[in-house]
C-alpha cells in the first residue's frame, strides 16, 4: 500500500470547501458533473509537488499555504473610484469584481456589430449547450491542477464571441479586481471565440484593491478562427501577498495571427500557463512576456505549444528580472508532430539576476517529430553587464539610475513588441515605478 502523504492546510481547505459549495456554484446538473470530475482529480492526487514534472520549479504543495474561502460580493463604490490599471479611453472595460461579472460597472454601450458579450454564470445556469461544449478541454489541460481548480470553483466570467469577419475596433479589456478583507479566493473562466477573418485586441488586467493574500485563478479559453488576428495582453498586478494563477488555452486556426503577452509584475506566488495549439496551417503566433520579481516572490511561466499544423511560425520570448531572494521559473515545451513540416519556431528566455540570492530556472524543450523544420531555443541567465554599467557610470549617471536604464533595456526587447500603445505605456509606467522603488 502506498502511504498517502498527510493533507496540507491548503489541501484540507480545498477538500472542505468543495462539497460545501458545489451545488451553490452556478450551473445545471451537467455543470456540476464537470466540476465534480475536475475536483475529483485534484482530491485524488493532492496538490502537485516538485516531483510532478510540470510543477518541478513551483512546488504548489509546499508553496500554497492556504486556500482562502470564496470571495463575497465586492463593494462597488470602491471599485468605481479605483484608478484604472490601463489609461485607455478606447478600451471597452468589462469588470469582473470578486469573481463576478458586473455589467453595471462595465462599458456595454454601442457594442460593435459582430461582438457579443454575456455572463458565463448565466450561461451555466441556463445550461447553454454551446457553453457547456466549450468547457470541454483536452485531457492534459483539464487535468492540470490550476485548470481543474478553475473548473471546480469558477463563479463567472465572460463569454465573448466575435462574428466572422468582424473587426472590433475598441480593445476589449477584462478588468479583474479583488476587493475586501480578509483574503478570499476567486476563480473566473472566460470563453472567447473569434470568428474567421475577425480581429480583436483582448486585454486582461488582474489586480486587488487590498494588500491581502487573495488567491485568484483566471482562465481564458480562446479560439482564434481561420485568418483571424488576435492580440492578447495580460497585466498581472496583484499585491505581493497574493497568489495568482492564470491559464490561457488558445487554438489558432489556419492563416491566423495571434500574439499573447504576459506581464507578471505582482503576486507573491504567480503561475502563468499557456496551452496553445496551431490547429490550421500557415498561421503565426508570438508568445512573449516579462516577469519582475523582488523580495521572496516566486513566478512561474509555463508554456506548452503544439505546432500541430504545417508551415506555422512561432516566436517565444520571455524575460525575467529577479532581485533579492526571488525566484523565477520558465518552462517552455514546443511539440512538433510528424505532419507539421515547415514548422518555424524560435524560443528564447533570458533572466537578469540583480542579487546574489536571486534564482532563475529555465527549461526550454523541443519535441520534434517532423524532419523539415526550423526550431531553436536558447536560455541565458546573468547579472548586469559590468562593462555596460561602467560606460554609463563613466558619464556621470549614478549607479542606481544606470542599472535601471539597463534593466529597462533588457525588458524592452520584449515590451516593445506590444502593439497596443496604451498597454505598452501602462506597462512601461509600472516597470519604471518598480525600478524607482528599487533604486530608492
Amino acid at each position: 500500500m502506498v502511504a498517502t502523504p498527510a493533507r496540507t492546510p491548503a489541501e484540507l481547505a480545498l477538500v472542505a470547501r468543495y462539497p460545501a459549495e458545489r451545488t451553490s456554484l452556478p450551473g445545471t446538473a451537467d455543470v456540476i458533473a464537470i466540476r465534480d470530475a475536475a475536483f475529483g482529480g485534484v482530491e485524488k492526487s493532492g496538490l502537485p509537488h516538485r516531483r510532478v514534472e510540470d510543477w518541478k520549479y513551483t512546488d504548489l504543495r509546499a508553496r500554497l499555504k492556504t486556500f482562502p474561502p470564496a470571495a463575497g460580493p465586492a463593494d462597488v463604490a470602491r471599485i468605481l473610484i479605483a484608478a484604472p490599471a490601463v489609461e485607455d479611453d478606447k478600451a471597452r472595460r468589462l469588470v469582473i469584481a470578486n469573481g463576478r461579472y458586473r455589467p453595471e460597472l462595465s462599458d456595454l454601450k454601442d457594442l460593435e456589430p459582430g461582438l457579443s458579450v454575456f455572463s458565463l454564470a448565466t450561461a451555466l445556469e441556463a445550461g447553454d449547450t454551446l457553453v457547456l461544449a466549450a468547457l470541454k478541454l483536452d485531457d492534459a489541460v483539464a487535468a492540470n491542477t490550476a485548470v481543474a481548480l478553475n473548473t471546480a470553483f469558477m463563479t463567472d466570467g465572460l463569454v465573448i464571441a466575435v462574428a466572422d469577419g468582424a473587426e472590433i475596433q475598441r480593445p476589449v479589456e477584462l478588468v479583474h479586481i479583488a476587493e475586501g478583507e480578509p483574503a478570499a479566493s476567486t476563480a473566473v473562466r472566460h470563453l472567447v471565440t473569434v470568428g474567421k477573418g475577425a480581429r480583436m485586441t483582448l486585454i486582461e488586467t488582474i489586480e486587488s484593491l487590498d494588500t491581502v493574500a487573495h488567491h485568484s485563478n483566471v482562465m481564458t479559453v480562446l479560439e482564434v478562427g481561420d485568418g483571424a488576428k488576435v492580440d492578447h495582453i495580460r497585466l498581472q498586478l496583484e499585491p505581493d501577498e497574493a497568489v495568482c494563477m492564470t491559464s490561457l488555452v488558445a487554438k489558432i486556426g489556419r492563416e491566423a495571427s495571434f500574439d499573447t503577452f504576459n506581464a507578471a509584475l505582482g503576486a507573491g506566488l504567480a503561475r502563468a500557463q499557456i496551452f496553445a495549439e496551431f490547429t490550421g496551417r500557415d498561421a503565426r503566433a508570438g508568445f512573449r512576456g516579462v516577469t519582475m520579481l523582488n523580495g521572496r516572490r516566486h513566478a512561474d511561466t509555463t508554456l506548452f505549444l503544439v505546432h500541430g499544423a504545417e508551415n506555422c511560425q512561432s516566436r517565444e520570448l520571455y524575460k525575467a528580472v529577479i532581485d533579492d531572494e526571488a525566484r523565477s521559473a520558465f518552462a517552455g515545451r514546443i511539440a512538433v508532430p510528424a505532419h507539421a513540416q515547415k514548422t518555424d519556431a524560435r524560443m528564447m528566455t533570458a533572466s537578469l539576476l540583480l542579487s546574489e540570492e536571486a534564482e532563475a530556472d529555465a527549461k526550454p524543450e523541443l519535441e520534434i517529430f517532423a524532419d523539415d523544420v526550423q526550431c531553436g531555443h536558447g536560455a541565458t541567465c546573468g547579472a548586469i553587464d559590468d562593462d555596460l554599467l561602467f560606460y554609463l557610470l563613466s558619464r556621470g549617471i549614478p549607479k542606481a539610475e544606470a542599472e535601471s536604464m539597463l534593466i529597462l533595456a533588457f525588458l524592452g526587447e520584449a515590451i516593445d513588441e506590444i502593439q497596443n500603445q496604451a498597454v505598452h505605456d501602462a506597462l512601461i509606467h509600472r516597470v519604471e515605478g518598480w525600478l524607482k522603488a528599487r533604486a530608492a
Binding site: L393, R395, K399
Partner: protein, 250 residues
C-alpha cells in the same frame, strides 16, 4: 589639475602599472605614446574608476583631491572624461535618453536645474552637427550599429556636451578616416581652454598634427620612461620604441 603619483596597479597577480607619475596642468595637452600592451588603456580605465584593478601604491589627485575612492560617476561629475578606445554598444538604451541622463546628472551635481526637453534637444543638435553626427545616429541606441569612426565621433560629442575639465582620449584617432580625423580634431580643439586639459593617447603623429601637444610622454611597461616636447613624437614616428623598451627593461 591632474596629478598621478607613483601609481602601481595590478590585475590578478599581474602588475601592469609600475610606478607611473604624471602631472597635467590646466590648459595643457599631453600626448601619451607607447607600445601595445604598455598600460595606456589600463591607466585611462583606472583614472575613470573601473574597478577591475587593484591599486597597490600611489595616488591620483584631481584639482588637489584624491579621486581613487570616488565612484566612476563621481569622477565624471568632478570633471573627468574618458573617450574610450573601444566604445561599447548598449542595445535598448536610446542615445538621447542616455545623453539626457548624463547631462542631468552633471547639472544636478552642480546644483543646476534639469534642462527642459527643447533646451536639451537644441544643445545636442548643435554639438552633433559640428561633429557630423546625423540625427539618424542620435535616434539609435547608444553606439549600436555605429561604425568604428562614428563611435569615436560620438565619444567626442559626449565630451563636448559634458564639458569636462580633464579629458582623456584613448586612441580616439584609430578607426577615423582622414576627414573624420579633422572633424574630431576640430571638435577637440574647440574645447581647448585655459582651464581644461587633455591627455591624448595615440600611436600616430598624424593626430598630433591636428591636436598639437605641449608635452609628449612615452609609456612603456607601466611607467613613463621619457618626457619631451612635440618633437619627441616625431622622433618616435621615425625610430620606433626600441630604445625606450630597452630602457624600461634595463
Amino acid at each position: 589639475m591632474l596629478e598621478i603619483k607613483n601609481l602601481h596597479a595590478r590585475i590578478g597577480d599581474r602588475e601592469i602599472l609600475k610606478g607611473l607619475s604624471l602631472t597635467v596642468k590646466p590648459g595643457e595637452v599631453h600626448a601619451i605614446m607607447g607600445p601595445n600592451g604598455a598600460g595606456k588603456s589600463t591607466l585611462s580605465y583606472i583614472l575613470a574608476g573601473k574597478d577591475d584593478y587593484e591599486i597597490t601604491e600611489g595616488e591620483v589627485l584631481l584639482n588637489g583631491q584624491s579621486i581613487l575612492d570616488l565612484t566612476p560617476n563621481e569622477r565624471s561629475v568632478a570633471g573627468l572624461f574618458l573617450a574610450f578606445q573601444y566604445p561599447i554598444e548598449i542595445p535598448g538604451v536610446a542615445t538621447m535618453t542616455f545623453l539626457k541622463a548624463a547631462l542631468n546628472s552633471h547639472r544636478k551635481a552642480k546644483g543646476q536645474d534639469e534642462l527642459t526637453t527643447p533646451e536639451f534637444m537644441k544643445l545636442v543638435k548643435g554639438v552633433a552637427e559640428r561633429l557630423n553626427i546625423t540625427s539618424d545616429m542620435l535616434k539609435r541606441p547608444v553606439n549600436v550599429g555605429f561604425s568604428g569612426g562614428e563611435k569615436k565621433r560620438a565619444e567626442i560629442m559626449q565630451m563636448a556636451l559634458l564639458q569636462p575639465s580633464i579629458c582623456i582620449l584613448d586612441e580616439t584617432d584609430s578607426g577615423l578616416d582622414i576627414d573624420a580625423l579633422k572633424v574630431v580634431s576640430e571638435g577637440v580643439n574647440a574645447l581647448r581652454s585655459p582651464d581644461r586639459a587633455f591627455v591624448v593617447i595615440t600611436h600616430y603623429q598624424r593626430l598630433l598634427d591636428h591636436i598639437v601637444p605641449d608635452i609628449v610622454h612615452v609609456l612603456s611597461d607601466g611607467r613613463i620612461v621619457r618626457t619631451g616636447g612635440p618633437e619627441l613624437a616625431l622622433d618616435l614616428e621615425k625610430n620606433g620604441y626600441a630604445a625606450y623598451v630597452a630602457d624600461a627593461a634595463a
